[in-house]
Amino acid sequence: MSKTLFYIILGIITVIAPFAFPAFQTQLATLWLMIIVAQSWDMTGGQMGYNSLGNIFFYGTGMYVAAVVTIGLVYPVGEYTGAAGGGIYTFTPDEYFLGMALSIPAAGIFCALCAFIIGYVTFGLRGPYFAIGTLGVAIAGGEMVSNWDWIGGGQGISMPSYPYNFDQFKTVIYFLYAILGIALFFFCRWLYQTRFGAAINAIRDDEGKAEAMGIHTMRYKLIAWAISAFFVGAAGAISAFQLIHFEPLETAYQTINLGIFMVVCVLLGGKGTLWGPVIGAVMFHVFKELTWNYFLGWQWVALGALIVVVVVFFQDGLMGYLKYKRPEWFGIAVDTKEAKV
């Protein structure tokens, strides 16, 4: 079982990495975040063919749910945000960890519910309309939140800070992301082998045919998006604890940063494959971290250019390239005999 061995080695690396490279813990945590959002984007974008530009909505919503749950357990939220950092609001370690334990799943579940409701409308849309509609949802989300004073409006909201020392905090955040990421990976690995996985592939390849064969297309689309939203929302909740203070437009509903990064990661690695999003996230993150400081203020321009180049010239990604070059690695049989029948 060389595959098992491979997974075990990867697992060991995952556990050791934050201790071996303590200076890079935050970067490694961010890498896991990228893997999670890329992998969950791929569930609808790559496997189901519905290219959402608005999955960041669930990230931002997850952050705010985490804040509201964690704070709301102890203090009235409106009063807390009204004081805007003034006033004395302290959280005991118990309150902090209870908030953390409750708010991460709560954020996931809330986002999954949101996906059901929004998806019921947006999944009537196809192709470009779906992409633009979901982008609209994400922008609208950010704008609404930034006008909502109860949760801090445009000023944002502050989470309680970690009750123990800062190094430990970074390690905790790293492992929260890592556990979520690993859970997502193995969940996807299982999901894509089920009938459901085949059905969403069928929706991607020819939705009309899938409908004509009586597949519950709407139901499956909603479930897929809800699962995807659950993981993005939970990741957002972890980010809320990691960032401590965040505001709606630039951090939570960051349409043009993380919102588009996740798509680029998937495209780089290869859409519709299990490993593609993971590899793509690593490629993108490493590239970004290595080059970011050399652009001297032109980072975002370079990023836009990167998106354009990837989309135009390298859309099938690494896995797509390999599939084209080495189809037999992917179990695709090629007919060598003359076709008869």
Binding site: F196, N201, D205, D206, K209, V334
Partner: protein, 247 residues
Amino acid sequence: MSTIIDVSSVSKSYGGVKANTDISLTVETGGITGLIGPNGSGKTTLFNSIVGYHPIDEGSIKFEGQEISKKLVPEIARLGLLRTFQQTRIYGEMNCVENMLISLPHRKLSLTDAFKKNTRADRDKAEQFLDFVGLYEKRFLQAGSLSFGQQKLLEFAMALMNEPTVLLLDEPTAGINPTLINGLIDRLKRANSEFGITLFIIEHNMRVIMNMADKIYCLAHGEMLAEGTPAEIQDDQRVIDAYLGAH
């Protein structure tokens, strides 16, 4: 025999063009019903009206006594009314067995079943049907690499896998090697008799439809021209005129 599809007084026009005018027909449970007519006579339009691709202007369409003329494509398909396409639609990126497994009757699956992997029995069934249409040898090839005729057979096998109550076939023999047509007729008949699937077939090839159908309807210029048994249709002067372009 009881009626399973009941189309009454259906009209459909595209802009000013009347594709179907006041069409009424019935499909009997367990039988093979044929729909013929020259090109542009409105056969495919009528098919599309039945399976829900566009709204109809007037009339009603009932399936097992239930009105379906306002329902959407997936809702109608889930009632067990399945169609194949004139321009064959299969999943070209997947191999034949995967194509078959996708065609499992999802309408009969509960949500928990949908989250299970395909069983050995499913695979056996898929291979049986592939064997039935003569594609067993090719079962692990990508469906997109098959010839058009083979894709057509695959689509037929996928339809069988779906265990439909009624199967609407849009020109099943078009593009198939003439030497294989007899085999296909035989398989269609067996699908009807062995699996108990009611067939409703659009066909251009007179020899094929005369060999199979219990009852034939003939459309011309969007109107019902004639109906009857194959023998009656064959002798009908109006049908002969329509096909020879005497109008």
